[in-house]
Symmetry: D2
Subunit: 365 residues, 4 copies
Amino acid sequence: MTKAVGVLTAGGDSPGLNAAIRALGKAAIGKYGMNVIGFRDGFRGLVENRIIRLNRDNLSGILTMGGTMLGTSREKPHRMPVGGKTLDMTDVIVENYHKHHLDALVCIGGGGTHKNAFRLLEKGLNIITLPKTIDNDLAGTDTTIGFDTALGIATEAIDRLHSTAHSHHRIIVLEVMGHNTGWLALGSGVAGGADVILIPEIPYEVGYVSDSILRRSRGGKNFSIIVVAEGAQPRDPDEIAAKGKKQQNGRDGSEPSGDGHTMRLARELEERTGLESRVTILGHLQRGGAPTAYDRLLATRIGNACADFVREGQYGVMVAARGEDVEAVPLKDIVGNRKSVPLDHPWIQSARGVGTCLGDEKAER
Amino acid sequence: MTKAVGVLTAGGDSPGLNAAIRALGKAAIGKYGMNVIGFRDGFRGLVENRIIRLNRDNLSGILTMGGTMLGTSREKPHRMPVGGKTLDMTDVIVENYHKHHLDALVCIGGGGTHKNAFRLLEKGLNIITLPKTIDNDLAGTDTTIGFDTALGIATEAIDRLHSTAHSHHRIIVLEVMGHNTGWLALGSGVAGGADVILIPEIPYEVGYVSDSILRRSRGGKNFSIIVVAEGAQPRDPDEIAAKGKKQQNGRDGSEPSGDGHTMRLARELEERTGLESRVTILGHLQRGGAPTAYDRLLATRIGNACADFVREGQYGVMVAARGEDVEAVPLKDIVGNRKSVPLDHPWIQSARGVGTCLGDEKAER
Amino acid sequence: MTKAVGVLTAGGDSPGLNAAIRALGKAAIGKYGMNVIGFRDGFRGLVENRIIRLNRDNLSGILTMGGTMLGTSREKPHRMPVGGKTLDMTDVIVENYHKHHLDALVCIGGGGTHKNAFRLLEKGLNIITLPKTIDNDLAGTDTTIGFDTALGIATEAIDRLHSTAHSHHRIIVLEVMGHNTGWLALGSGVAGGADVILIPEIPYEVGYVSDSILRRSRGGKNFSIIVVAEGAQPRDPDEIAAKGKKQQNGRDGSEPSGDGHTMRLARELEERTGLESRVTILGHLQRGGAPTAYDRLLATRIGNACADFVREGQYGVMVAARGEDVEAVPLKDIVGNRKSVPLDHPWIQSARGVGTCLGDEKAER
Amino acid sequence: MTKAVGVLTAGGDSPGLNAAIRALGKAAIGKYGMNVIGFRDGFRGLVENRIIRLNRDNLSGILTMGGTMLGTSREKPHRMPVGGKTLDMTDVIVENYHKHHLDALVCIGGGGTHKNAFRLLEKGLNIITLPKTIDNDLAGTDTTIGFDTALGIATEAIDRLHSTAHSHHRIIVLEVMGHNTGWLALGSGVAGGADVILIPEIPYEVGYVSDSILRRSRGGKNFSIIVVAEGAQPRDPDEIAAKGKKQQNGRDGSEPSGDGHTMRLARELEERTGLESRVTILGHLQRGGAPTAYDRLLATRIGNACADFVREGQYGVMVAARGEDVEAVPLKDIVGNRKSVPLDHPWIQSARGVGTCLGDEKAER
């Protein structure tokens, strides 16, 4: 009998989402003759029955496009704003799942989406997830759809800043995303040859950072490029908080802070070194544009495997990237486990090897 | 007799500076057998006799490089920090000019550099200038070296933001450079299809901008991309100044404001529309990276013509771009004339033609 | 009364076509309330009444896209293959023009399209043309839509080849398009710093080229990058024709020759210098991808002005780029006038200035 | 005691070589105080004692550069052209190794380099290799330095061809490198959404390919993009060989064939389908330009680990990429083992999942 599979994308968008939808859809339709229904704007589309029936035509030509053809939202099934109130819409979702005669629901998203998907699994739905986030902070998978593209954008930014930094004598500060982890800052910082990389996993000492800049300056290097993860924090918050206003509460970790920590850090480093600083905030640039070849191959591999999983009835799992292949990882092993950068990670060792300042003397040894 | 020509780059750096230095150097050496001496870090190198003798070897391989092989600075001959004081070093420069037996001094720079070069001309030096600034705000020339590259970078940023804007429901604000003119914001905004473009030449009404966003929203477009020139200003400063702190005084107009006007505008639009906003600040990204083909052709054409000018003894002029060719424009006609965007410029008409909001109802007619 | 305007794209496609269609359509609809009808696949769509009604929705999101939303073809109104025969369909076109109650027909294309458009003008239709070709060989306009993008692609290719050429000891030959003119080869060759540039306007001497390569080799440069226009020809055809097979007849000048002249030239240079050669043929790469900011601004300016021309009833003209503005140039002044590179063009002078070999000793002086 | 380590790059160049040299050099010098000597132009530099002493200065600023700062060559120690003869220079190399008091020699290269390095290992030298080739055909490592960048270039080419293919009605053929394996063609073909992918591991049937193109054409898709590995071969060579001249013997597998197989295939498909074809040959473009972030991280990780291996005296091994980490793989296990694409590789499955023609009916099941 023909199976029916629903698919939605939730959370912040990532390059490669359309590539994953395309691969899942083409394989499900082409190999197995399934019906594939897309839900718009994350879980809200499932609540409001806003659907788009996927077929060869609307799956064609989307491989290279950034964003998601289905739209996305950060709304949670159990706390959804409806008519001015915030309601638990889980039962409505379960009802609609059955109304559409779905055999499985594929949720493509990051940490938050996995929590929501897990709740639906516990309600008895056949859930499969695909790992997607530019932050790379999902446990259970080698990497996530969108990370390589965001890495490339941040690295290209460092390259550009390098070429202009040589001409002036300055501290150049680049804020990159990453939520509460340092994958994006560390990866782009090593790939771009940043002089200082500050990540949440290593609370930094302001004085140690400014000393490192001054050491470069005395050694004849008149500029320093500082890559700061949006989630980076000083070991002693007073040192930089006193100069500016309090950090905003409740900010969405995966969004650029804008007027927060990075600006204050730049001013603090100016004061301590006597060098002018300039700030670049990439913000949503990191979510946009065509995915890299790497991300398209990853998304296509995982999306294609997902169709096989539906066929085989393998539910309650994430389709994880494992080496060159994929692996079914139970959702219960993933939910709530954020993947931070281990302090002995090869990229940390790489940074140390080429002499990058990581903001804390002990971490560099 | 063999002529000697000095060359320096001053002001903020621009992609294409090395292409100009290379063309001037190769033509002066190869066609005319001149001696070519580069001075480091703008006018300071001329004060301190920090030179680099240009030859085929060090002019090779620099065509594609961002920045400037000579370094640059914003220091002025007549107000230069020396040993803790600020001194008029003009006479030292004149002395060193003669000490190096220069027949001409080529100053590559923007508005400020042209003022400084003009002072040296009045002191009797043989000055030729080349127009360079990512801001495109120099009078007397069709365009300036670096503008097309900065335009491309800002436009690519809008493209990326577009692809992610579709997925969420947001106001995306992009701050671009341009000093006190709107060339960069207008050009990239039209090229990138921005929904709102705010430039210094058209003081904007906040309410008109937020209405335009709400109109789009009601029309089914759930996002709006706002390109803001760093020099843009509201017609009524109180409307957005009241919400944040005062604009910093004395900031270098050509640098990203960071925590100034753009952040406050984003917050104001959030409040008035009820939509979330996100901010990207390109900052020095706009000065970096390899120049576009256009900028390399422009820089090569102008640099090559400059060698001819030296040969012919045509001094006291800027080598201006005029159509496909170059033209000698007297420095006295340029100095102090900033080129703003005329309100009937074809790009303004283009923006109106495709329905872009320019921040003020009257300006759009 | 509401005017109706038809639009079609013909000839080889160029980046920026969609930007021009969008600007024309948005301005015609938004400013003047016109009806805008697109015809598919060039003049054939006008013959077969294959139309697409343009509106805000289908004009949205196409600004950055390569290709043309209308499709294109190289078919001529007066010699069109129909049911196995080649017929003159001009009268059918005239009939359909009136059937759709068109006030004007906008033809976007290059040299061939202008000839065809002129024939329709002579039949009494209200014709306006927009200049589009990556070859830049249209008379009457400063430049053409698509040229800057193709220039950028070819220049980027030279940049890549440069970075690998340094590692090996080789002759690297790059074939670029340009039909029977050298704009693309010359522009990209100067912008990319090619060592040799061969264009149709300067028939080359093989021996002079190989000598120039050997001179570089003796000077310590172990590689040479040769940019060859597809239309370049040796002064003495026997010198390289004898080694390979005859040039294909009837090839479409604007297409990559593939197995023709460039391959034979590479082999000839190998034999004469004893250095290995490698060939890259860009082919249709030069027609693809997102247009540059420059091309989008050009296309938007021209498309927007075209709507004004229709409004004003200014027919029988090309909307030409003239400086920052546009100009109406009578079609009769354009048709049949190919714009070749003048031998004293500033780009030729630039090439000479930096010491590039142009294939013929006399041309370099 | 201070260790001394030599390093050379051999074979075709790849993006990322400089990143590997930099990481090895900075770590060896910075962490361990070693002497690091670079040999120019592959094994020839070791024969002729052409060295460059690596230090912080010359290792700075090379991270993003394509090519190799050391130069490279394809010359073999045991068959090196010297003064008109081809001699076995192995003993000279061994002598020079000792003359420079080397503790280890690091050879960065592909399959051929590994064979040569293994011979030197058998002569008693302390050899470590780093895996580098855009072909990805080295056994024992997850991937090789340069592959991701070449993949990105080829994929971007397909993207450009796609955007122009829509406008015309054509077969577009793209030849990519890969030596005798299909990694590059398969990876870029899947990432770029090619319609047909032909790789050496799956000998193709011409008729099956042309049928697949005609099937697309009948389904309303008027273009097809064919990605052909330079090493691809028809199952029945006569089918396409008869139309052209014999395949050149002795061509270097990793170089573009130019006038060989790809051109004949394009003509054959034209004849069988009645559709025009156009050919693009990327050639050395695939070796050039700045490495991707992925390749820089890979090269930095492996180069850094290599310094540790030297420190620990772990010789006779390749520093292989294994998951996120590195692994020492004995050279004897690698030499002579080419890594071809397995027919059940996830990328093959991905291609099948999205309906790509792989040139042979059986392979697609």
